[in-house]
């Protein structure tokens, strides 16, 4: 059973507009959440993270929001740029704290 769900396989956005990527998780004990970005034929790179003691973390154009009651987090990219086109993975630490569990990813396409 999936512990981290990204229900939208793809998202298309125009340049300059906001991109919102969503992620749901099942275990309320998860306490740290991360977003990774991946280009084709490359390894994922860390983008932004948030601890469960916060509900928002911002880094430049990227903001992650955490709604613990809904077990939901989202990544906002404003403004979106064509270079943001990539696969975005949501991740959490497993219960033992020994490895990251990733969602299936959302492919973001930003058109100019």
């Amino acid at each position: 059973d999936q512990q981290v769900k990204q229900n939208s396989p793809s998202l298309s956005v125009q340049e300059g507009r906001i991109s919102i990527l969503n992620c749901d998780y099942t275990n309320s004990m998860f306490d740290y959440f991360l977003w990774y970005k991946k280009y084709p034929a490359e390894g994922p790179t860390f983008l932004i993270s948030i601890s469960s003691i916060k509900d928002k973390n911002e880094d430049g154009r990227f903001t992650v929001f955490l709604n613990k009651s809904a077990k939901h987090l989202s990544l906002h990219i404003v403004p979106s740029q064509p270079g943001d086109s990539a696969v975005y993975f949501c991740a959490v630490n497993n219960q033992a704290g020994t490895a990251l569990i990733f969602g299936k990813g959302t492919t973001l396409s930003v058109s100019s």
Partner: protein, 114 residues
Amino acid sequence: SQTIHQWPATLVQPVGSPLSLECTVEGTSNPNLYWYRQAAGRGLQLLFYSVGIGQISSEVPQNLSASRPQDRQFILSSKKLLLSDSGFYLCAWSATGGRNYGYTFGSGTRLTVV
């Protein structure tokens, strides 16, 4: 600075042949090491992780095995490849000691089993 090397970049292997993918990390000691696979429609699936030499934990029972013969070397192997082993294999490392959440991934190996 720390770097992670993974090779080969691409590999085409016949069904039933063996596999050996290697990953090495430089610039750090006693890293946690991971093997992930990205298969079509499956996202990033954790295969193995290691917290020390000779210590391997398997997350998914399958046709693959992993070994850590040296502190900064992680090897993914198979004795006989299956078609379903095709995918993009990624090695990653993180610092040990406490809960560190930053993973650095290698550039990946695209394996096609034919």
